[in-house]
Symmetry: C2
């Protein structure tokens, strides 16, 4: 990439792009859906439902966690992941705002 020019854009545009990046892989879309469909949210259960290795799923979870769309709570030897509704709502609001702004030609 030579030298990432991201600091040349506004914080808002960068944040929106970051949220979009977190959603830019089908595995991560799937994970978000799984987390709400299932009662349990252990990593193992998620891995079972995806065509990916455990290490790879862990990386995707890390990416979703990085932007705050999910939380991971330690429960004994396991980790219970769940969506972060507050940040999810924040993301939805920001995307709505973008779409309503760019909705003309």
């Amino acid at each position: 990439m030579a030298s990432s020019k991201k600091e040349e854009f506004t914080q808002e545009d960068n944040w929106l792009a970051d949220v979009a990046k977190a959603l830019s892989h089908p595995a991560r879309i799937r994970i978000l859906k799984i987390l709400t469909e299932m009662d349990s949210c252990m990593v193992g259960s998620i891995v079972d439902k995806l065509p990916l290795a455990q290490a790879t799923v862990s990386q995707h979870l890390k990416e979703l966690k990085r932007v705050g769309l999910i939380d991971g709570d330690i429960v004994g030897p396991k980790i219970c992941y769940c969506v972060n509704n507050k940040n999810l709502a924040k993301a939805k609001t920001a995307l709505d705002k973008l779409f309503s702004k760019i909705g003309c030609c």
Copy 2:
């Protein structure tokens, strides 16, 4: 990436991820905003408003065009880009659906 596993996911999840990918760079968010703020939508005008080289902007426009979020109409030697409202609405609907689905924990 070894061997992209994207074909192992549903078409819907892949499409949503693809739209999100198109939005996953601040320059492309900015471009969408510029296209609605400006009367003119020549590439040159967009380049002037971004801290990027013309070739780079052209690549970003190509990515937005790939997923159908913008159209490019040839006008003489220039090309007039504008947002594609139909596909924009489709993307918004799909994202809304996703967010409403995953909105619980």
